[in-house]
C-alpha cells in the first residue's frame, strides 16, 4: 500500500519512516510538510494511506481531510498530546498514534487497516477523482470540535446552504464545506435523487410517499425530515421508482 507521511517536523517524519521500515507492504511514496503540500502530493501520488499529523502550521490535519476529494484514503493520525483531537478520534473510532509512537501500537493500527482493506477493497488511491462515490465510501465532516467519517449509505438527506451542504445522518446534521451541486456530481444517481432545488435524498431511506399539492409528492425519510417534490420532480421520481 502506498503511504504518504504528513508532518511539519523533519525528525518526526524520519522517525515514522524508520518505524515503517519493518512493514514491507507499506511503501512510503512521499512526505508533505503541511496541508497545501499534502493536497498536491495526494493528487500526484494517490496514496492509499496517509499518516497525518494533527498540529501543523497554517491549517491542521483535519482541514486536509475536509479539503480532499472523497473517497478518502485510509488515515492514521499522529499527535503528541491533544485532548481535543483524541476525543474526536474516539468519537469516530478513527485510528491515531500518540508520539513518540509505540511500535506495537503501529503494528496494531496497520493490522486493523489490512483487515478493513480486505473486507472492502474499494477506496484505493488508484480510483480516479471523477469516479462516483460507492455506498461504502466515507465522507469526512467536521463541525467545531467534532468530526465524523460518514459512510455515504448513512446519509439520508443533503441540503444546500449556499456554498455549504448540510448532511443528515444518524442524529447529526453538520455542514460540509462543499456545494450541493458538487456533492451531487459525486453521488451515485441510482441511490441519490435531486428532490428539489435545495435537497438531494437517499432513496434507500425513503419510508413513505404521499400525494402533495398540484401533482407534487411528499417523501418521508426514515428518522428524518419530510421532503417536498415539485410536479416535474415527482414525475421523474415516479419513473425512477417504477423501474
Amino acid at each position: 500500500m502506498k503511504a504518504l507521511i504528513v508532518d511539519d517536523e523533519r525528525l518526526a517524519r524520519n522517525e515514522l519512516r524508520r518505524l515503517l521500515a519493518v512493514h514491507p507492504d507499506i511503501e512510503i511514496v512521499g512526505e508533505a510538510v503541511d496541508v497545501e503540500d499534502a493536497l498536491e502530493k495526494v493528487a500526484a501520488l494517490k496514496p492509499g494511506l496517509i499518516l497525518l499529523d494533527v498540529q501543523m502550521p497554517g491549517a491542521d490535519g483535519f482541514s486536509l481531510l475536509e479539503r480532499l476529494e472523497p473517497p478518502l484514503p485510509a488515515v492514521i493520525f499522529t499527535t503528541a498530546y491533544d485532548e481535543f483531537a483524541v476525543k474526536a478520534f474516539e468519537f469516530n473510532a478513527l485510528d491515531y498514534l500518540l508520539k513518540p509512537v509505540d511500535p506495537n501500537r503501529l503494528v496494531a493500527a496497520l493490522e486493523k487497516l489490512r483487515t478493513r482493506e480486505a473486507a472492502a477493497p474499494a477506496a484505493d488511491g488508484s480510483t480516479g477523482p471523477a469516479l462516483r462515490l460507492a455506498l461504502e465510501d466515507k465522507v469526512f465532516v467536521r463541525e467545531g470540535d467534532r468530526c465524523w467519517f460518514v459512510p455515504v449509505k448513512n446519509i439520508r438527506l443533503l441540503e444546500s446552504e449556499g456554498n455549504y451542504t448540510r448532511l443528515y445522518f444518524d442524529d447529526q446534521k453538520p455542514q460540509l464545506f462543499r456545494s450541493l451541486t458538487a456533492m451531487e456530481e459525486r453521488l451515485d444517481p441510482r441511490n441519490f435523487f435531486r428532490a428539489n432545488r435545495k435537497q438531494v435524498i437517499n432513496l434507500t431511506w425513503v419510508e413513505g410517499i404521499e400525494p402533495w399539492f398540484s401533482g407534487g409528492l411528499l417523501v418521508k425519510l426514515k428518522g428524518g425530515p419530510k421532503v417536498e417534490l415539485s410536479r416535474r420532480q415527482a414525475q421523474d421520481f415516479r419513473e425512477r421508482m417504477s423501474l
Binding site: A12, E15, P57, G58, A59, D60
Partner: protein
C-alpha cells in the same frame, strides 16, 4: 420575573422587612389596645381611644420606616458596637421626640382634644418620650442584630469563594509547569535524533532533564536568580530548535550588567513568555520566524521583553487554538503570579508592535522584597 438570584434575594429581604415591621408594630398596637380595654377608665368611648392609639402607633411605624434609608445612607451597618451605641441612642431620642411632639400636637392642637389627665402636659410628654426611646432602641436592636447575622453569613460565603479561587489559582499554576505538548513532541524528536545525531541526542536528554527538574522544583520557590531562569529558557529553546530546526531563530539582547544575573524573578516567568512566543509566533507559521529576548535594568526595575511575529487578533489558525486549549492561560497565570509577588509594582503588558509582531513587556521591581 427576573431569574437574577441577586434581585431575588433583595426581594426576599424586602418581604422579610415588611413582615417584621407589620409583626412588630402590629404587636405593639395589639398590646396597647388590649391594656386599654383592661384599664376601666372609660374616659371616652372605646372606639375613640382605639383610633387615637392606632394613629400614634402608625406614626411610629412611619418614623421607623423613614429612618431605615438614613441608616443605610449614613453607613451605620458597617460600624462597630462602640460607634453604633451612641448613634442608636441619639437617633432613638430624636425619633421619639418627633413622635411625641407630632402625636401630642395633632391630638391637642389640631384636633383640639380637651386635656383630662391629672398630670401636667410636660410630664405626660416626657413619659411618652421615654417610652418612645425604649421602643425605638428595641427597633434598632432588632434591626442591627439581623444585619450582624446577615453580615456574618455573607462573610462566610465570601470566605468560601476566596478559598475556591485560591485553589483554582494553585491548580492553574501546577498545570502550567510542564506543557505536555512540548514534552511529548520533544521526546518524539529525541527518538529520531538518537539514530541521526547521537551526541546531540545525548545533549538534548540533559536539557530536557534540566527543564523537568526545574519546573518540578521551582513550583515551591517564590523567586529564583535570573541566571537560573535564563539557563532553562536556553534549554527550552535548544529543544524547540530540534523540532522546528531553522524555522525558529532567536536573538538575545542581554545587558552586560553583572547584577542582572542575580536579580530575583518568579520561576517560569520568562519561560512562559518565550513558550507563548513559540506557540503563537513560530508554530503556526510555515516559514517560522525570529524571537527576540531582551533583559536590562531600567531605573529600579528589571525590564524583560519578548517579541515574536504575529498579531493579537487571535491565534493564527484553529489548530493553534486547539493546541493552546489554554489560550492565554499561560500569560494570565504569569500576570497573576506577578501580582501576588509584587502587588502593583510589577506589570505585564502585551502589545501588537512593532508592525507584524507581538511584544510582551514585563517590569519587575529590583529592590522590593518579594511579598
Amino acid at each position: 420575573m427576573t431569574a437574577d438570584p441577586e434581585a431575588k434575594l433583595a426581594r426576599a429581604k424586602d418581604r422579610l422587612y415588611v413582615l417584621c415591621q407589620v409583626a412588630g408594630w402590629g404587636g405593639l398596637l395589639g398590646i396597647q389596645l388590649f391594656f386599654e380595654r383592661l384599664s376601666e377608665r372609660q374616659r371616652m368611648d372605646g372606639l375613640h381611644d382605639a383610633s387615637v392609639i392606632t394613629m400614634v402607633v402608625l406614626l411610629g411605624w412611619l418614623l421607623s420606616h423613614y429612618a431605615r434609608p438614613l441608616v443605610t445612607r449614613w453607613g451605620w451597618k458597617q460600624l462597630g458596637w462602640t460607634a453604633l451605641v451612641p448613634r442608636v441612642l441619639g437617633a432613638s431620642i430624636v425619633l421619639s421626640l418627633l413622635w411625641t411632639l407630632i402625636g401630642f400636637g395633632y391630638i391637642y392642637w389640631v384636633v383640639c382634644e380637651a386635656w383630662t389627665s391629672k398630670f401636667s402636659p410636660l410630664f405626660a410628654m416626657s413619659l411618652t418620650a421615654i417610652n418612645g426611646i425604649v421602643t425605638f432602641v428595641a427597633w434598632f436592636c432588632l434591626y442591627f442584630v439581623y444585619h450582624t447575622f446577615e453580615r456574618l453569613r455573607q462573610m462566610q460565603v465570601e470566605r468560601l469563594h476566596l478559598a475556591a479561587s485560591v485553589k483554582e489559582a494553585e491548580l492553574r499554576a501546577l498545570k502550567s509547569q510542564v506543557n505536555p505538548h512540548f514534552l511529548f513532541n520533544s521526546l518524539n524528536s529525541l527518538r529520531a535524533l538518537i539514530d541521526e545525531d547521537a551526541p546531540r541526542a545525548r545533549e538534548s536528554v540533559t536539557r530536557l532533564a534540566n527543564m523537568l527538574r526545574y519546573s518540578l522544583q521551582s513550583g515551591q520557590l517564590e523567586t529564583v536568580a535570573f541566571e537560573e531562569e535564563l539557563r532553562i529558557v536556553e534549554d527550552y529553546l535548544a529543544l524547540e530548535q530540534i523540532r522546528h530546526e531553522n524555522r525558529l531563530r532567536v536573538r538575545w539582547e542581554l545587558a552586560q550588567e553583572g547584577d542582572l544575573r542575580h536579580v530575583p524573578v518568579p520561576p517560569m516567568l520568562l519561560q512562559t513568555l518565550v513558550e507563548n512566543a513559540v506557540k503563537y509566533g513560530i508554530s503556526p507559521r510555515r516559514e517560522g520566524g525570529e524571537i527576540a529576548i531582551s533583559a536590562r535594568v531600567e531605573g529600579a526595575a528589571l525590564h524583560l521583553r519578548v517579541t515574536n511575529p504575529g498579531d493579537l487578533t487571535g491565534p493564527a489558525n484553529a489548530s493553534a487554538a486547539r493546541a493552546g486549549s489554554s489560550t492565554g492561560v499561560g500569560l494570565r497565570n504569569a500576570s497573576d503570579r506577578l501580582k501576588l509577588l509584587f502587588g502593583d509594582h510589577a506589570t505585564l503588558t502585551l502589545l501588537a508592535e512593532p508592525a507584524g509582531c507581538v511584544t510582551a513587556d514585563v517590569y519587575i521591581p529590583l529592590n522590593s522584597p518579594a511579598r
